[in-house]
């Protein structure tokens, strides 16, 4: 069977996430840093709940027990010219 992609942006599959979570017994944020899942273009909005659910399943802790992955501005991608104050033409 083909790999099951969980984070589409960074192309991180389920096996990779499970292996890392088991080996390092880590938080969602550390799993993100180790595998890049959740660090992609969409800002983690597509895969974040899956990763949290996976960790709950593996560690038995409820989602929200630990610090959640932060949502920081920009809430969606913005061009450098927009952020730098140039008017969009």
């Amino acid at each position: 069977m083909d790999k099951l992609i969980v984070c589409r942006c960074e192309e991180v599959d389920l096996d990779t996430l499970v292996e890392h979570a088991r080996q390092y017994d880590c938080s969602a944020r550390e799993l993100k840093l180790r595998t890049r899942a959740g660090m992609g273009y969409c800002g983690g909005r597509t895969c974040r709940t899956s990763i949290d659910a996976l960790l709950c399943h593996l560690t038995g802790s409820a989602a929200g027990d630990e610090l959640p992955l932060k949502v920081q501005p920009p809430v969606r991608p913005v061009s450098l010219s927009t952020l730098g104050g140039r008017l969009e033409s």
Binding site: R8, C9, E11, Y41, C42, R45, T46, P77
Partner: protein
């Protein structure tokens, strides 16, 4: 370009007639109807691949279709990162698919 658009649905009935809109996708002439998004116009024509994952080159296309996942991002009239599922096609629009990044150069140790 094959037409996959449902024009006569057993429950929803006939699709209303709408004017055709021409645009290009990677230089190829394409046609949709007024009100199509780039993604729906291309999908109707059987085109599913809108970009590739920049590093792995894996083909990508529509996923959430609601402007959330950014999987469908294309370049429109030179502007990158436009979500094909939200952008309505306009006559003469130039749409380009996302390409893979070139291989990393090995920098010569000159500096």
């Amino acid at each position: 370009m094959s037409n996959m658009r449902i024009v006569d649905h057993p429950i929803l009935g006939k699709l209303e007639e709408r004017p055709a809109v021409s645009f290009t996708f990677d230089g190829r002439p394409c046609e949709g109807v007024a009100g199509d998004t780039i993604a729906s116009a291309l999908l109707a024509g059987g085109i599913r691949m809108l970009r590739v994952q920049e590093v792995t080159g894996t083909p990508r296309g529509l996923y959430c279709n609601i402007g959330h996942c950014c999987e469908c991002r294309v370049t429109v009239d030179g502007k990158p990162g436009v979500r094909a599922c939200l952008a309505e096609i306009q006559p003469g629009m130039i749409v380009e698919s996302g390409k893979p990044l070139p291989q990393r150069k090995e920098l010569a140790p000159h500096a």
